[in-house]
Symmetry: C2
């Protein structure tokens, strides 16, 4: 092998690089420092916090299918810096406004071999973490950019524990979260959460995933990770024309787990609202014809057990109207559900109803009751079948006053059907560039019809709700339905895991509120107490929240049901009061429409006692606390329905003693007096 000569050549190529200063910038509070530069032809970055390394020297680069790679002939030829500070308002959200304050460092690298080519990397350094993205400028020697791999390294300075969801697997995002030493991670989806030995909490993710492939984190040995992009049937995982920028690679950094929950770094790195007036996007709570199919009481497909009948729809509408739910979701009303629809073998028709369902009659009936149908588009990830129908399908809903649609992409990884440029069906991953493009096409099409989107089996959330506020929620992890048939069901720690992993990406339509969890019932059930089901409405943020259980189960439990009726879905403020990843968490949120506060606390399989100072409450104010807590014998396994509902008057000077049963939770409504 001839590496000797190569080494020599590299020394020549990189001679200017060797002399390069590295460029540095810090967060506004001076605590986080990023250093970017080149040496021996390699482009690298490193991150420290309070003088301690967080990410040690890590390479940045690309492989291309149509050009020599950006690898070891790079030198940093220029840099720019700037500072930024603004506060922006959310049309809906977990907060009313967010401060976006960062220092920025952009470094331009040049490939010195052959015809010169450049790219730059822009780092935005916040007090709560770092985001960076690559920019491919307009240039003569790199026009069509066909990326076979992005090779961004993340060399963690410290050992520790990681919570991660496997990527490149048979399924999508619907595995239980792994909790392993960092060194034992396989290949992970983002967000991946890490707690280092010294107690630092990190979340690795990306922001503003637009027209690019999702980034997976491949463990490369030791505490080193390399990005790997979700595959494409085309070869190049990303094909773009310069100029363009990649999504932001993000590392949120916090001293404690709670700090990750309230970081707005992902949203801040997204572009502002691109849709203008979005007053038509309404946060809401909903019920629907859904859980009854999961528990095999009815079917999506036609036949004697068909769930989506006009009659059944009206029953749900009546229930929604009576109990103050804006929305009624109806799945299975359109044809395509009979036969082997899973995996897209058969195609759905998005505008044709089964004979036993009269869409117009149902929407008219809903309107007369002040209720809104929540539309449904199950695609089975057969995008080739869905896209040609999309415009008509949304137009139909708009015509009937349906202003939000739940989409679905049930199919396993590598099973999404697209039509390629030649009209052939090609099979893609759920999170490659084609999928990313498709999901945004849906959101944009829906926006033209003033319709909000809640995607299930979606592309992961990277904060695009800031730019497209009609992208209100999504799934993207194991939801409640695994408690209907999962093998295993979601374990008691699952929802606490979600708070510190999946939820760091954005809102999730987890569909809480299952009350039929009596241990005497046969088969599957949720592994939570009933109080925990209530607490999920506060802890798992979404601007749309389902009351997922059957109406009759709520009617049989009117007192806990009252919390679901009371709890808002739009907030002016959020506080994470305590928490450890995967163990427990307490979150308080303030209603946007009143001065009321709400609190949710969750634990895993262990009983816990949390002392929670009420300092988040407004000063000088008294609140009636309506407390929904685990009863003295509550236990997810033996006694999940034991709940105590009580009221007391409190002020911010008090400290609450919160006792959580194994698999339990607590929900509190603080009514401002």
């Amino acid at each position: 092998m001839l590496r000797f000569l190569i080494t020599c050549l590299c020394l020549v190529w990189a001679s200017s690089a060797l002399a390069d200063p590295s460029f540095k910038a810090t967060s506004p509070d001076g605590k986080i420092m990023v250093e970017v530069g080149s040496s021996f032809g390699e482009a690298t970055y490193q991150i420290s916090r309070a003088g301690k390394p967080v990410i040690t020297r890590s390479k940045m680069g690309f492989l291309f299918t149509n050009a020599p790679k950006f690898d070891r002939s790079l030198s940093a030829i220029s840099h720019t810096t700037r500072s930024f500070d603004e506060t922006w308002d959310l049309p809906w959200g977990e907060a009313k406004s967010i401060r976006n304050r960062f220092n920025e460092l952009s470094v331009t690298f040049e490939d010195g071999r052959g015809a010169p080519r450049q790219f730059s990397v822009t780092f935005r350094i916040y007090d709560d973490g770092v985001g960076f993205r690559y920019n491919f400028p307009d240039q003569p020697n790199l026009k069509q950019v066909a990326i076979s791999e992005e090779m961004t390294e993340f060399n963690l300075a410290e050992d520790g524990t990681a919570w991660w969801q496997p990527a490149g697997e048979w399924n999508r995002y619907e595995y239980l979260y792994n909790r392993t030493p960092i060194r034992e991670v396989g290949q992970a989806h983002t967000p991946m959460t890490v707690r280092t030995k010294s107690g630092l909490h990190l979340s690795f993710h990306e922001a503003a995933l637009v027209d690019y492939s999702s980034m997976w984190l491949r463990h490369a040995g030791g505490t080193r990770f390399i990005s790997t992009l979700s595959p494409s049937s085309r070869g190049a995982k990303v094909v773009r024309t310069a100029p363009f920028s990649t999504p932001w690679r993000t590392i949120q950094i916090s001293d404690d787990a709670a700090g990750l929950v309230t970081s707005h770094l992902i949203l801040n790195l997204n572009e502002p609202n691109a849709l203008g007036d979005v007053s038509w996007v309404k946060p809401y709570k909903y019920v629907g014809i859904w859980w009854e199919m999961h528990i095999n009481k009815s079917t999506w497909g036609s036949g004697p057990k068909h769930g989506a009948t006009t009659e059944n729809a009206k029953r749900y509408i009546d229930f929604a109207a009576e109990h103050g739910f804006r929305g009624v979701l109806i799945e299975g009303w359109n044809t395509g559900w009979d036969g082997d629809w899973f995996g897209g073998e058969t195609g759905f028709d998005f505008t044709t109803a089964y004979p036993d369902f009269d869409l117009k009659a149902v929407t008219d009936y809903a309107k007369s009751k002040g209720v809104h149908l929540v539309g449904h588009h199950e695609t089975a990830a057969n995008i080739a079948n869905y896209e040609p129908q999309m415009e008509a399908a949304f137009a139909l809903y708009e015509r009937l006053g349906v202003d939000s649609v739940k989409t679905g992409y049930v199919a396993d990884a590598g099973g999404a059907r697209y039509r390629d440029a030649n009209g052939h069906i090609v099979f893609e991953w759920h999170d490659g560039q084609e999928a990313v493009r498709h999901h945004l096409r849906v959101v944009e099409t829906a926006a033209r019809h003033k319709i909000a989107i809640n995607a299930h089996e979606p592309i992961k959330d990277t904060g695009l709700r800031r730019t497209y506020p009609n992208w209100v929620s999504r799934e993207g992890a194991r939801g409640q339905e695994y408690n209907a048939w999962g093998n295993p069901e979601n374990p008691p720690e699952h929802e606490v895991n979600l708070v510190f992993t999946r939820m760091l990406a954005g809102p999730m339509d987890f569909t809480p509120g299952i009350f039929a969890i009596n241990p005497t019932q046969k088969g599957h059930r949720a592994r939570t107490t009933i109080a925990k089901q209530l607490a999920l409405y506060v802890t798992l943020y979404s601007p749309i929240q389902m009351a997922a259980d059957l109406p009759e189960h709520y009617l049989a439990n009117p007192r806990p049901f009252q919390f679901i009726k009371d709890v808002p879905v739009d907030w002016s403020e959020t506080r994470a009061l305590n928490g450890e990843v995967g163990d427990f968490v307490t979150i308080a949120r303030k209603d946007r429409a009143s001065d009321n506060w709400y609190l949710g606390a969750l634990t895993d399989e262990h009983a816990r006692r949390l002392r929670v100072p009420l300092t988040f409450l407004d000063a000088g104010r008294t609140y009636k606390a309506q407390i929904y807590r685990d009863g003295p014998k509550a236990d997810w396994d033996k006694n999940p329905l034991d709940i105590v509902i009580e009221e007391k008057m409190v002020t911010r000077d008090q400290v609450l003693d919160i006792r959580l049963a194994p698999g339990g939770g607590q929900a509190i409504r603080f009514v401002a007096q």
Copy 2:
């Protein structure tokens, strides 16, 4: 999410599968058992040995770019078994003949969804391990097979230690071997070697890699691995027309490390010799104009320090003739070395010599001395430049009596240049389907010209030397040249690591025999004793072996040089006498051309004392043992040149006391009396 329905459908689809018996077969000695079947629509296998699980239930399947995947709608519909036993001869090798005895189990799976499709899996169960491959039969519903991923799982039953080379990295196969817990492996090339906690030794690799992409092993968490194929610029990592079979996925199993060394499972799984009479393929030793470039004494490129001059060539030819070396390698004689050739930016001309080199005169001179020029084709992995010249380049060598060629593919991963169907340059990995095809085209073209191939920066070895006996050797790991300029150099454990990892794949042209290792010399040097350099000729098998150092360094050390002159390169028998992965090893081999035996022992950085019974020697025979051992003060760091050369008479009844210095070794020639 709608998994409930899916689960139901799966139960229906797999109902026959649920009733399926699983199919079982054992190795000829009955010790290894393989069980193959389907349940819940998944195709799975498992392997046990002596009743203890080795590989627990592991899925098998494929993703396609042009068809629904083979995943969870599979049922095992039929099976066949057979037994096989033959003994075949090697034209050259580490043994004269090999017994190929196995029991075979083939199971056919059918995908029950949509238009029916089938594949089968054939398991060959040997006493020393298992190989299995997929077969895509001729069938109406799966003609053009475009594989986006092969998803073969390897779920190890036990924890343990792994020795592995990272895959999907910036470089090729030229990293130091990692030694980590199995759970801490990242993504690995094969062969990957594992020692389980109970002491079982496993080697994961593949056999007969033809017209397919190389398999990497991706750690997926815990002790679970999934295959991932080397990428392609086309999208589908493998494109084939049915019928075809994949390479064999192999798991060699042994109670001890030594057992892996002498397993012939990889060769046995390859097809027999396809070239007919290969008497023109000659094992040989060689010297060459090569090391002097690595130590910067001369250059590949033109100029005052040009190494490949007619005059210098004649000097090496004289040396080779005088000391009995058949070959003289000359690198840098053809044009293309000036400028930025690395990475294929410039193109080599394979038939045009630099003005200071007269190819005809050199080959004529060699012929007159009974010496053979070893040709050289450095491609810089610019296949688009090489392939159009290949025919003429081999024809030229054949005309001049050159019967072996060293090829080179210096370029980093993702940097090989090919021309696609539209004539555009595309960049490929070093081990994808295109590379696999290219390397075999070279070997077949060379065979037509009766030329043997020794590829550097090659595709990995999967035993194809059985089918193409002119594919005599290759590199494919860090070779000796890293001791000339590596940062770091090869550590003292490197060669012992190679014996139990890289060498399990097949012969390696490591280029041993560097004597200039005096610690007083400046800069880089080999981290071995001189006795260890000699021992490498026996321990690192190759039918061609270089005496890599400069002639003057051999002339200055005539006594150790004698071993290099004496040692054969073709063997009738090989025994691994002891060894622990990465720690030490002793190997004995019997000369094909005589009754003499040779022994090589290596240690890592630790001094060792090994007691070696000479029971491998022929019974009733006395041997003069010419022993080249580490001197009493030998140490790779402080005193690498301390060697004791002595003779004594021995028989098979004796036990040798082998003392190895830190970083040391021992070489012995047993001359039959």
